[in-house]
Amino acid sequence: MKKILNNPEDYVPEMLAGLLAAHPGRLKSVGGDVHCIVRAESPIEGKVGIVTGGGSGHLPVFLGYVGRGMLDGCAVGDVFASPTIDQMYETTKAVNGGAGVLHLFGNYGGDVMNFAAAADQADMEDSIEVATVLVADDVASAPADRASSRRGVAGMVYAFKIAGALAEEKASLAQVKAIAEHCLANTRSMGVALGPCTVPQVGKPTFTLADDEMEIGMGIHGEQGVRRGKLQTADEIVDQLIQPILDDMPLDGGEISVMLNSLGGTPLEELYIMYRRLLEVLKQHDITVYRPYIGRFATSMEMVGASLTVLKLDDELKRLLDAPASTPFFDQSQYV
Protein backbone atom coordinates (compact mmCIF):
# COMPACT_ATOMS: atom_id res chain seq x y z
CA MET A 1 0.00 0.00 0.00
CA LYS A 2 1.43 3.32 -1.08
CA LYS A 3 1.34 6.24 1.31
CA ILE A 4 1.60 9.98 1.03
CA LEU A 5 4.15 10.81 3.70
CA ASN A 6 7.54 12.33 4.37
CA ASN A 7 9.93 10.65 6.80
CA PRO A 8 7.96 7.77 8.36
CA GLU A 9 9.29 8.74 11.80
CA ASP A 10 7.52 12.10 11.42
CA TYR A 11 4.20 10.56 10.44
CA VAL A 12 2.42 11.16 13.73
CA PRO A 13 3.85 14.56 14.70
CA GLU A 14 3.29 15.95 11.19
CA MET A 15 -0.23 14.54 11.11
CA LEU A 16 -1.00 16.11 14.48
CA ALA A 17 0.53 19.44 13.49
CA GLY A 18 -1.68 19.55 10.39
CA LEU A 19 -4.71 18.54 12.38
CA LEU A 20 -4.22 21.17 15.06
CA ALA A 21 -3.68 23.81 12.38
CA ALA A 22 -6.87 22.73 10.62
CA HIS A 23 -9.12 23.00 13.66
CA PRO A 24 -7.72 25.85 15.75
CA GLY A 25 -11.02 27.01 17.17
CA ARG A 26 -11.91 23.56 18.42
CA LEU A 27 -8.75 21.76 19.51
CA LYS A 28 -5.55 22.76 21.25
CA SER A 29 -2.49 20.92 22.46
CA VAL A 30 -1.26 20.87 26.01
CA GLY A 31 2.07 22.42 26.98
CA GLY A 32 3.33 22.37 23.41
CA ASP A 33 3.09 18.57 23.04
CA VAL A 34 0.99 17.80 19.96
CA HIS A 35 0.33 14.33 21.41
CA CYS A 36 -1.88 15.86 24.12
CA ILE A 37 -5.03 17.22 22.53
CA VAL A 38 -7.98 18.81 24.34
CA ARG A 39 -11.06 20.87 23.52
CA ALA A 40 -10.12 24.49 22.89
CA GLU A 41 -12.31 25.59 25.80
CA SER A 42 -10.75 23.18 28.33
CA PRO A 43 -10.94 22.98 31.27
CA ILE A 44 -14.68 23.45 31.65
CA GLU A 45 -15.54 24.44 35.20
CA GLY A 46 -17.70 21.91 36.99
CA LYS A 47 -17.84 19.43 34.11
CA VAL A 48 -16.46 15.91 34.33
CA GLY A 49 -13.59 15.67 31.86
CA ILE A 50 -13.54 12.59 29.64
CA VAL A 51 -10.13 11.54 28.41
CA THR A 52 -9.30 8.80 25.99
CA GLY A 53 -6.07 7.72 24.40
CA GLY A 54 -4.46 5.12 22.24
CA GLY A 55 -2.35 4.60 19.17
CA SER A 56 -2.51 6.66 16.00
CA GLY A 57 -3.77 5.30 12.70
CA HIS A 58 -7.43 4.92 13.62
CA LEU A 59 -8.93 8.29 12.65
CA PRO A 60 -11.49 9.46 13.61
CA VAL A 61 -10.66 7.30 16.65
CA PHE A 62 -9.46 8.53 19.06
CA LEU A 63 -8.89 12.26 18.94
CA GLY A 64 -11.61 12.82 16.36
CA TYR A 65 -14.22 12.55 19.07
CA VAL A 66 -12.81 15.39 21.16
CA GLY A 67 -15.47 18.08 21.04
CA ARG A 68 -18.77 19.29 22.39
CA GLY A 69 -20.98 16.49 23.69
CA MET A 70 -18.23 13.87 23.45
CA LEU A 71 -14.65 13.88 24.77
CA ASP A 72 -12.56 16.53 26.48
CA GLY A 73 -9.11 15.21 25.75
CA CYS A 74 -7.04 12.57 24.07
CA ALA A 75 -3.48 11.36 24.54
CA VAL A 76 -2.13 10.26 21.17
CA GLY A 77 0.47 7.55 20.72
CA ASP A 78 2.59 6.55 17.80
CA VAL A 79 0.92 4.39 15.14
CA PHE A 80 -0.77 1.47 16.93
CA ALA A 81 1.23 2.24 20.11
CA SER A 82 0.17 3.54 23.48
CA PRO A 83 0.74 7.16 24.45
CA THR A 84 3.08 7.67 27.39
CA ILE A 85 2.16 8.02 31.03
CA ASP A 86 3.29 11.65 30.92
CA GLN A 87 1.05 12.43 27.96
CA MET A 88 -1.96 10.82 29.63
CA TYR A 89 -1.24 12.65 32.85
CA GLU A 90 -0.86 16.05 31.19
CA THR A 91 -4.06 15.56 29.21
CA THR A 92 -5.91 14.55 32.35
CA LYS A 93 -4.70 17.64 34.20
CA ALA A 94 -5.65 19.92 31.31
CA VAL A 95 -9.31 18.86 31.24
CA ASN A 96 -9.87 18.82 34.98
CA GLY A 97 -12.66 21.27 35.71
CA GLY A 98 -12.90 20.23 39.33
CA ALA A 99 -15.51 17.50 38.86
CA GLY A 100 -13.09 14.67 38.23
CA VAL A 101 -11.96 12.90 35.09
CA LEU A 102 -13.11 9.70 33.40
CA HIS A 103 -10.50 7.62 31.56
CA LEU A 104 -12.48 5.86 28.83
CA PHE A 105 -10.42 3.81 26.37
CA GLY A 106 -9.89 0.47 24.71
CA ASN A 107 -8.71 -2.62 26.55
CA TYR A 108 -5.12 -2.88 25.30
CA GLY A 109 -2.35 -3.73 27.74
CA GLY A 110 -0.07 -0.78 27.14
CA ASP A 111 -2.90 1.72 27.37
CA VAL A 112 -4.38 0.05 30.46
CA MET A 113 -1.12 0.08 32.39
CA ASN A 114 -0.09 3.55 31.33
CA PHE A 115 -3.49 5.03 32.12
CA ALA A 116 -3.35 3.36 35.54
CA ALA A 117 -0.01 5.01 36.24
CA ALA A 118 -1.28 8.35 34.92
CA ALA A 119 -4.36 8.11 37.14
CA ASP A 120 -2.15 7.39 40.17
CA GLN A 121 -0.05 10.41 39.34
CA ALA A 122 -3.07 12.71 38.88
CA ASP A 123 -4.39 11.55 42.23
CA MET A 124 -1.05 11.80 44.06
CA GLU A 125 0.19 15.08 42.65
CA ASP A 126 -2.98 17.01 41.89
CA SER A 127 -5.73 15.29 43.89
CA ILE A 128 -7.75 14.79 40.72
CA GLU A 129 -10.37 12.10 41.15
CA VAL A 130 -10.03 9.70 38.23
CA ALA A 131 -12.42 6.88 37.30
CA THR A 132 -11.64 4.32 34.62
CA VAL A 133 -13.89 2.47 32.18
CA LEU A 134 -12.44 0.05 29.65
CA VAL A 135 -14.02 -0.63 26.28
CA ALA A 136 -14.07 -4.36 25.55
CA ASP A 137 -16.72 -4.81 22.88
CA ASP A 138 -15.11 -7.20 20.36
CA VAL A 139 -16.94 -10.51 20.77
CA ALA A 140 -14.42 -12.23 18.51
CA SER A 141 -11.58 -11.76 20.98
CA ALA A 142 -12.76 -13.87 23.92
CA PRO A 143 -15.73 -16.00 24.92
CA ALA A 144 -18.46 -14.61 27.17
CA ASP A 145 -16.91 -16.03 30.33
CA ARG A 146 -13.81 -13.91 29.76
CA ALA A 147 -15.70 -10.92 28.34
CA SER A 148 -13.68 -8.43 30.37
CA SER A 149 -10.51 -9.42 28.53
CA ARG A 150 -11.96 -8.56 25.12
CA ARG A 151 -10.42 -5.98 22.82
CA GLY A 152 -11.95 -2.56 22.43
CA VAL A 153 -13.01 -1.63 18.90
CA ALA A 154 -15.60 0.66 17.27
CA GLY A 155 -18.07 0.28 20.16
CA MET A 156 -16.04 2.90 21.98
CA VAL A 157 -17.65 5.54 19.77
CA TYR A 158 -21.03 4.79 21.32
CA ALA A 159 -19.47 5.05 24.78
CA PHE A 160 -17.92 8.40 23.87
CA LYS A 161 -21.26 9.64 22.58
CA ILE A 162 -23.35 8.47 25.52
CA ALA A 163 -20.95 9.35 28.35
CA GLY A 164 -20.07 12.60 26.62
CA ALA A 165 -23.71 13.62 26.40
CA LEU A 166 -24.26 13.01 30.12
CA ALA A 167 -21.04 14.80 31.09
CA GLU A 168 -22.14 17.78 29.01
CA GLU A 169 -25.21 17.97 31.28
CA LYS A 170 -22.80 18.37 34.22
CA ALA A 171 -23.56 14.99 35.74
CA SER A 172 -21.23 13.70 38.47
CA LEU A 173 -18.20 11.52 37.84
CA ALA A 174 -20.02 8.53 39.36
CA GLN A 175 -22.97 9.09 37.04
CA VAL A 176 -20.81 9.49 33.95
CA LYS A 177 -18.86 6.37 34.83
CA ALA A 178 -22.09 4.45 35.44
CA ILE A 179 -23.64 5.43 32.10
CA ALA A 180 -20.44 4.54 30.23
CA GLU A 181 -20.50 1.12 31.86
CA HIS A 182 -24.21 0.73 31.15
CA CYS A 183 -23.67 1.69 27.51
CA LEU A 184 -20.82 -0.78 27.12
CA ALA A 185 -22.74 -3.57 28.83
CA ASN A 186 -25.18 -3.16 25.93
CA THR A 187 -22.59 -2.83 23.17
CA ARG A 188 -21.06 -5.63 21.08
CA SER A 189 -18.91 -5.56 17.95
CA MET A 190 -17.57 -7.98 15.39
CA GLY A 191 -15.36 -7.30 12.39
CA VAL A 192 -14.01 -8.80 9.21
CA ALA A 193 -10.72 -8.06 7.47
CA LEU A 194 -10.06 -8.50 3.75
CA GLY A 195 -6.71 -6.76 3.51
CA PRO A 196 -3.97 -5.36 5.74
CA CYS A 197 -2.57 -1.93 6.44
CA THR A 198 1.02 -0.84 6.74
CA VAL A 199 2.50 0.87 9.78
CA PRO A 200 4.64 3.64 8.21
CA GLN A 201 7.67 3.02 10.41
CA VAL A 202 7.50 -0.71 9.72
CA GLY A 203 6.94 -0.41 5.97
CA LYS A 204 5.38 -3.80 5.40
CA PRO A 205 1.79 -5.04 5.80
CA THR A 206 0.61 -6.04 9.28
CA PHE A 207 -0.55 -9.44 7.99
CA THR A 208 -1.15 -11.27 4.75
CA LEU A 209 -4.31 -12.76 3.34
CA ALA A 210 -4.45 -14.60 0.04
CA ASP A 211 -6.28 -12.90 -2.84
CA ASP A 212 -9.41 -14.92 -2.19
CA GLU A 213 -9.29 -14.93 1.62
CA MET A 214 -10.87 -12.99 4.45
CA GLU A 215 -10.69 -13.30 8.23
CA ILE A 216 -13.78 -13.03 10.38
CA GLY A 217 -13.15 -11.50 13.79
CA MET A 218 -9.70 -10.11 13.08
CA GLY A 219 -8.63 -7.29 15.38
CA ILE A 220 -7.96 -3.75 14.23
CA HIS A 221 -4.20 -4.20 14.49
CA GLY A 222 -4.31 -7.54 12.70
CA GLU A 223 -4.85 -9.66 15.82
CA GLN A 224 -6.00 -13.16 14.99
CA GLY A 225 -9.72 -13.62 14.46
CA VAL A 226 -12.05 -16.56 14.78
CA ARG A 227 -11.98 -17.95 11.26
CA ARG A 228 -9.94 -17.44 8.13
CA GLY A 229 -11.50 -18.67 4.93
CA LYS A 230 -12.54 -17.95 1.38
CA LEU A 231 -13.91 -14.51 0.64
CA GLN A 232 -17.68 -14.75 0.83
CA THR A 233 -20.54 -12.60 -0.42
CA ALA A 234 -21.67 -9.47 1.39
CA ASP A 235 -24.77 -11.25 2.61
CA GLU A 236 -22.80 -14.18 4.02
CA ILE A 237 -20.36 -11.83 5.72
CA VAL A 238 -23.13 -9.83 7.36
CA ASP A 239 -24.70 -13.02 8.64
CA GLN A 240 -21.42 -13.98 10.26
CA LEU A 241 -21.00 -10.59 11.89
CA ILE A 242 -24.46 -10.27 13.37
CA GLN A 243 -24.93 -13.86 14.58
CA PRO A 244 -22.13 -13.92 17.19
CA ILE A 245 -23.38 -10.57 18.49
CA LEU A 246 -26.92 -11.88 18.87
CA ASP A 247 -25.57 -15.05 20.51
CA ASP A 248 -23.58 -13.02 23.00
CA MET A 249 -26.27 -10.44 23.75
CA PRO A 250 -29.69 -11.99 23.15
CA LEU A 251 -32.26 -9.50 21.93
CA ASP A 252 -35.91 -10.41 21.98
CA GLY A 253 -37.00 -7.88 19.42
CA GLY A 254 -36.63 -4.29 20.55
CA GLU A 255 -34.71 -1.35 19.30
CA ILE A 256 -31.00 -1.06 18.64
CA SER A 257 -28.62 1.39 17.10
CA VAL A 258 -26.06 -0.07 14.71
CA MET A 259 -22.72 1.17 13.53
CA LEU A 260 -21.50 -0.25 10.26
CA ASN A 261 -17.92 0.86 10.09
CA SER A 262 -15.33 0.69 7.34
CA LEU A 263 -11.83 -0.15 8.54
CA GLY A 264 -10.61 2.44 6.04
CA GLY A 265 -10.05 0.91 2.63
CA THR A 266 -13.57 -0.43 2.15
CA PRO A 267 -15.73 2.19 0.41
CA LEU A 268 -19.07 3.45 1.70
CA GLU A 269 -20.88 1.82 -1.21
CA GLU A 270 -20.10 -1.61 0.22
CA LEU A 271 -21.31 -0.64 3.69
CA TYR A 272 -24.72 0.16 2.23
CA ILE A 273 -24.80 -3.20 0.44
CA MET A 274 -24.14 -4.76 3.84
CA TYR A 275 -26.73 -2.60 5.56
CA ARG A 276 -29.41 -3.81 3.17
CA ARG A 277 -28.75 -7.39 4.28
CA LEU A 278 -28.45 -6.44 7.94
CA LEU A 279 -31.97 -5.03 7.92
CA GLU A 280 -33.27 -8.27 6.43
CA VAL A 281 -31.70 -10.32 9.20
CA LEU A 282 -32.81 -7.98 11.96
CA LYS A 283 -36.34 -8.02 10.62
CA GLN A 284 -36.40 -11.79 11.03
CA HIS A 285 -35.64 -11.20 14.72
CA ASP A 286 -38.21 -8.38 15.07
CA ILE A 287 -35.42 -5.95 15.82
CA THR A 288 -35.71 -2.38 14.58
CA VAL A 289 -32.87 0.01 13.95
CA TYR A 290 -32.73 3.48 15.43
CA ARG A 291 -30.16 5.91 14.04
CA PRO A 292 -27.80 3.79 11.99
CA TYR A 293 -24.23 5.05 11.83
CA ILE A 294 -22.73 4.03 8.51
CA GLY A 295 -19.29 5.25 7.57
CA ARG A 296 -15.73 5.41 8.82
CA PHE A 297 -15.79 5.76 12.59
CA ALA A 298 -12.83 3.63 13.71
CA THR A 299 -10.29 2.69 11.09
CA SER A 300 -6.89 1.09 10.74
CA MET A 301 -5.54 3.43 8.11
CA GLU A 302 -6.15 1.71 4.77
CA MET A 303 -7.18 -1.70 6.14
CA VAL A 304 -9.83 -3.36 3.98
CA GLY A 305 -12.80 -4.69 5.89
CA ALA A 306 -15.66 -3.61 8.09
CA SER A 307 -17.05 -3.95 11.56
CA LEU A 308 -20.55 -4.10 12.93
CA THR A 309 -21.47 -2.71 16.34
CA VAL A 310 -24.83 -3.11 18.04
CA LEU A 311 -26.03 -0.89 20.87
CA LYS A 312 -29.13 -2.18 22.63
CA LEU A 313 -31.22 0.84 23.49
CA ASP A 314 -33.34 1.93 26.41
CA ASP A 315 -34.96 5.32 26.95
CA GLU A 316 -31.95 6.86 28.65
CA LEU A 317 -29.48 5.63 26.05
CA LYS A 318 -31.76 6.88 23.31
CA ARG A 319 -32.02 10.29 24.88
CA LEU A 320 -28.24 10.57 25.17
CA LEU A 321 -27.67 9.25 21.66
CA ASP A 322 -29.99 11.97 20.37
CA ALA A 323 -28.17 14.75 22.25
CA PRO A 324 -26.18 17.19 20.12
CA ALA A 325 -22.49 16.54 19.62
CA SER A 326 -20.01 18.28 17.38
CA THR A 327 -16.35 17.61 16.74
CA PRO A 328 -14.22 18.24 13.65
CA PHE A 329 -14.87 14.62 12.65
CA PHE A 330 -18.38 13.92 13.87
CA ASP A 331 -21.57 15.88 14.01
CA GLN A 332 -24.67 14.34 15.44
CA SER A 333 -26.91 16.45 13.17
CA GLN A 334 -25.69 14.34 10.28
CA TYR A 335 -27.37 11.28 11.81
CA VAL A 336 -31.08 11.90 11.92
Binding site: A81, S82, P83, G110, M113, N114, R146, V202
Partner: protein
Protein backbone atom coordinates in the same frame (compact mmCIF):
# COMPACT_ATOMS: atom_id res chain seq x y z
CA UNK B 1 33.69 -10.15 51.56
CA UNK B 2 30.05 -9.56 50.56
CA UNK B 3 29.80 -8.76 46.86
CA UNK B 4 28.25 -5.36 46.11
CA UNK B 5 27.41 -3.22 43.13
CA UNK B 6 27.86 0.54 43.14
CA UNK B 7 26.07 3.11 41.03
CA UNK B 8 28.80 3.23 38.39
CA UNK B 9 28.65 -0.54 38.02
CA UNK B 10 24.86 -0.46 37.77
CA UNK B 11 25.05 2.14 35.02
CA UNK B 12 27.60 0.10 33.07
CA UNK B 13 25.42 -2.98 33.61
CA UNK B 14 22.31 -1.21 32.27
CA UNK B 15 24.27 0.00 29.25
CA UNK B 16 25.36 -3.55 28.49
CA UNK B 17 21.82 -4.87 28.98
CA UNK B 18 20.55 -2.18 26.60
CA UNK B 19 23.00 -3.20 23.87
CA UNK B 20 22.23 -6.88 24.42
CA UNK B 21 18.49 -6.45 24.10
CA UNK B 22 18.68 -4.13 21.10
CA UNK B 23 20.75 -6.84 19.37
CA UNK B 24 17.82 -9.25 19.90
CA UNK B 25 15.10 -6.92 18.62
CA UNK B 26 14.37 -8.91 15.48
CA UNK B 27 13.84 -12.26 17.24
CA UNK B 28 11.60 -10.55 19.79
CA UNK B 29 9.60 -8.89 17.02
CA UNK B 30 9.17 -12.28 15.35
CA UNK B 31 8.00 -13.93 18.57
CA UNK B 32 5.52 -11.09 19.20
CA UNK B 33 4.28 -11.27 15.63
CA UNK B 34 3.23 -14.85 16.25
CA UNK B 35 1.50 -14.26 19.56
CA UNK B 36 0.75 -10.55 19.64
CA UNK B 37 1.15 -7.57 17.33
CA UNK B 38 4.83 -7.80 16.47
CA UNK B 39 5.92 -4.55 18.06
CA UNK B 40 8.04 -5.93 20.90
CA UNK B 41 11.23 -5.49 18.89
CA UNK B 42 10.49 -1.84 18.39
CA UNK B 43 9.37 -1.45 22.01
CA UNK B 44 12.63 -2.92 23.29
CA UNK B 45 14.69 -0.85 20.89
CA UNK B 46 12.98 2.40 21.74
CA UNK B 47 12.91 1.71 25.46
CA UNK B 48 16.60 0.86 25.68
CA UNK B 49 17.56 3.79 23.47
CA UNK B 50 15.66 5.85 26.06
CA UNK B 51 17.77 4.24 28.78
CA UNK B 52 20.99 4.90 26.90
CA UNK B 53 20.02 8.53 26.45
CA UNK B 54 19.29 8.78 30.17
CA UNK B 55 22.66 7.13 30.92
CA UNK B 56 24.37 9.75 28.78
CA UNK B 57 22.81 12.56 30.81
CA UNK B 58 23.01 13.52 34.49
CA UNK B 59 21.77 10.85 36.92
CA UNK B 60 21.47 10.65 40.73
CA UNK B 61 24.32 9.27 42.85
CA UNK B 62 22.53 6.38 44.51
CA UNK B 63 21.63 3.05 42.94
CA UNK B 64 17.94 3.34 43.79
CA UNK B 65 17.17 6.71 42.26
CA UNK B 66 19.27 5.82 39.23
CA UNK B 67 17.17 2.73 38.53
CA UNK B 68 14.00 4.73 39.14
CA UNK B 69 15.01 7.34 36.54
CA UNK B 70 15.97 4.68 34.03
CA UNK B 71 12.61 2.98 34.51
CA UNK B 72 10.78 6.25 33.86
CA UNK B 73 12.88 6.81 30.75
CA UNK B 74 12.03 3.31 29.52
CA UNK B 75 8.26 3.66 29.99
CA UNK B 76 8.06 7.06 28.34
CA UNK B 77 10.14 5.95 25.39
CA UNK B 78 8.33 2.64 24.86
CA UNK B 79 4.72 3.03 25.87
CA UNK B 80 3.50 -0.52 25.17
CA UNK B 81 2.59 -3.26 27.64
CA UNK B 82 6.15 -4.45 28.00
CA UNK B 83 7.34 -0.86 28.13
CA UNK B 84 4.95 0.07 30.90
CA UNK B 85 5.70 -3.08 32.86
CA UNK B 86 9.45 -3.16 32.45
CA UNK B 87 9.58 0.52 33.36
CA UNK B 88 7.48 -0.19 36.45
CA UNK B 89 9.83 -3.05 37.35
CA UNK B 90 12.89 -0.81 37.21
CA UNK B 91 11.17 1.94 39.14
CA UNK B 92 10.10 -0.45 41.87
CA UNK B 93 13.59 -2.03 42.13
CA UNK B 94 14.82 1.53 42.46
CA UNK B 95 12.36 2.32 45.24
CA UNK B 96 13.61 -0.78 47.07
CA UNK B 97 17.22 0.43 46.77
CA UNK B 98 16.55 4.10 47.51
CA UNK B 99 19.51 6.03 49.01
CA UNK B 100 21.89 3.08 48.66
CA UNK B 101 25.29 3.97 47.18
CA UNK B 102 26.04 0.25 46.90
CA UNK B 103 23.74 -2.75 46.93
CA UNK B 104 24.57 -6.29 48.01
CA UNK B 105 23.51 -9.18 45.80
CA UNK B 106 20.94 -10.18 48.43
CA UNK B 107 19.50 -6.69 48.21
CA UNK B 108 19.43 -7.07 44.43
CA UNK B 109 17.42 -10.27 44.77
CA UNK B 110 15.04 -8.49 47.16
CA UNK B 111 14.69 -5.57 44.75
CA UNK B 112 13.85 -7.96 41.92
CA UNK B 113 11.19 -9.52 44.15
CA UNK B 114 9.77 -6.07 44.84
CA UNK B 115 9.66 -5.48 41.09
CA UNK B 116 7.83 -8.76 40.55
CA UNK B 117 5.26 -7.87 43.20
CA UNK B 118 4.67 -4.50 41.57
CA UNK B 119 4.29 -6.10 38.15
CA UNK B 120 1.65 -8.49 39.45
CA UNK B 121 -0.15 -5.61 41.12
CA UNK B 122 -0.14 -3.42 37.99
CA UNK B 123 -0.64 -6.07 35.33
CA UNK B 124 -3.07 -8.29 37.26
CA UNK B 125 -1.40 -11.40 35.85
CA UNK B 126 -0.63 -14.56 37.84
CA UNK B 127 2.33 -16.88 37.53
CA UNK B 128 1.49 -19.40 34.81
CA UNK B 129 -0.48 -16.86 32.75
CA UNK B 130 2.28 -16.98 30.11
CA UNK B 131 3.94 -13.64 30.64
CA UNK B 132 7.27 -12.12 31.54
CA UNK B 133 6.46 -13.01 35.16
CA UNK B 134 7.18 -16.63 34.34
CA UNK B 135 10.79 -15.75 33.57
CA UNK B 136 11.31 -13.36 36.48
CA UNK B 137 10.05 -15.63 39.26
CA UNK B 138 12.46 -18.55 38.58
CA UNK B 139 15.31 -16.04 38.21
CA UNK B 140 14.67 -14.76 41.73
CA UNK B 141 14.63 -18.29 43.11
CA UNK B 142 17.91 -19.02 41.36
CA UNK B 143 19.48 -15.81 42.72
CA UNK B 144 18.61 -16.81 46.28
CA UNK B 145 19.88 -20.34 45.69
CA UNK B 146 23.17 -18.99 44.30
CA UNK B 147 23.65 -16.96 47.48
CA UNK B 148 22.69 -19.88 49.74
CA UNK B 149 24.93 -22.34 47.89
CA UNK B 150 27.96 -20.12 47.34
CA UNK B 151 27.77 -17.55 50.14
CA UNK B 152 27.33 -13.84 49.84
CA UNK B 153 30.78 -13.38 48.34
CA UNK B 154 29.71 -15.21 45.20
CA UNK B 155 30.83 -13.36 42.07
CA UNK B 156 28.27 -11.21 40.33
CA UNK B 157 28.88 -13.20 37.15
CA UNK B 158 28.01 -16.54 38.77
CA UNK B 159 25.04 -14.99 40.56
CA UNK B 160 23.60 -13.55 37.37
CA UNK B 161 24.40 -16.59 35.25
CA UNK B 162 22.28 -18.70 37.61
CA UNK B 163 19.46 -16.17 37.22
CA UNK B 164 19.86 -16.14 33.44
CA UNK B 165 19.74 -19.92 33.14
CA UNK B 166 16.59 -20.08 35.28
CA UNK B 167 14.95 -17.24 33.37
CA UNK B 168 15.63 -18.99 30.08
CA UNK B 169 14.16 -22.24 31.43
CA UNK B 170 11.13 -20.23 32.60
CA UNK B 171 10.78 -18.58 29.20
CA UNK B 172 11.02 -21.95 27.45
CA UNK B 173 8.33 -23.36 29.71
CA UNK B 174 5.88 -20.62 28.68
CA UNK B 175 5.62 -22.44 25.36
CA UNK B 176 3.44 -25.08 26.98
CA UNK B 177 1.20 -22.54 28.70
CA UNK B 178 -2.04 -21.04 27.44
CA UNK B 179 -2.09 -17.26 27.48
CA UNK B 180 -4.42 -15.74 30.06
CA UNK B 181 -3.60 -12.06 29.76
CA UNK B 182 -2.80 -9.31 27.30
CA UNK B 183 -2.96 -9.43 23.54
CA UNK B 184 -1.90 -13.09 23.30
CA UNK B 185 -4.90 -14.17 25.35
CA UNK B 186 -7.15 -13.32 22.38
CA UNK B 187 -5.61 -16.34 20.66
CA UNK B 188 -6.99 -18.63 23.36
CA UNK B 189 -5.87 -22.22 22.90
CA UNK B 190 -3.97 -21.34 19.76
CA UNK B 191 -1.38 -19.64 21.96
CA UNK B 192 -0.14 -23.02 23.20
CA UNK B 193 3.14 -24.13 21.67
CA UNK B 194 4.45 -20.60 21.21
CA UNK B 195 6.95 -19.01 23.59
CA UNK B 196 5.93 -15.79 25.32
CA UNK B 197 7.93 -12.93 23.82
CA UNK B 198 8.08 -10.87 27.05
CA UNK B 199 9.46 -13.82 29.01
CA UNK B 200 12.13 -14.33 26.38
CA UNK B 201 13.05 -10.64 26.60
CA UNK B 202 13.60 -11.09 30.35
CA UNK B 203 15.80 -14.14 29.73
CA UNK B 204 17.86 -12.14 27.22
CA UNK B 205 18.18 -9.40 29.81
CA UNK B 206 19.65 -11.66 32.51
CA UNK B 207 21.88 -13.27 29.89
CA UNK B 208 23.27 -9.90 28.79
CA UNK B 209 23.77 -8.91 32.44
CA UNK B 210 25.65 -12.13 33.27
CA UNK B 211 27.78 -11.86 30.12
CA UNK B 212 28.71 -8.30 31.08
CA UNK B 213 30.25 -9.44 34.38
CA UNK B 214 31.68 -12.68 33.01
CA UNK B 215 33.64 -10.68 30.44
CA UNK B 216 35.21 -8.51 33.15
CA UNK B 217 38.62 -9.37 34.55
Amino acid sequence: MTTTLDTTQVKALMGAVADGLIAHKDDLAALDAELGDGDLGRTVERGFIGIKEALAGPLPDDVGRTLFQLGKAFSNAAPSSFGALYGTALMKSGTALKDKMTATLAECADATQAALDALMERGKAQLGDKTMLDAIAPAITAMRAALADNGDDVSTGVFLRAAAAAAQRGADETASMQSKIGRASWQGERSSGKKDPGAQAIAYMFDAAAAHFESQP
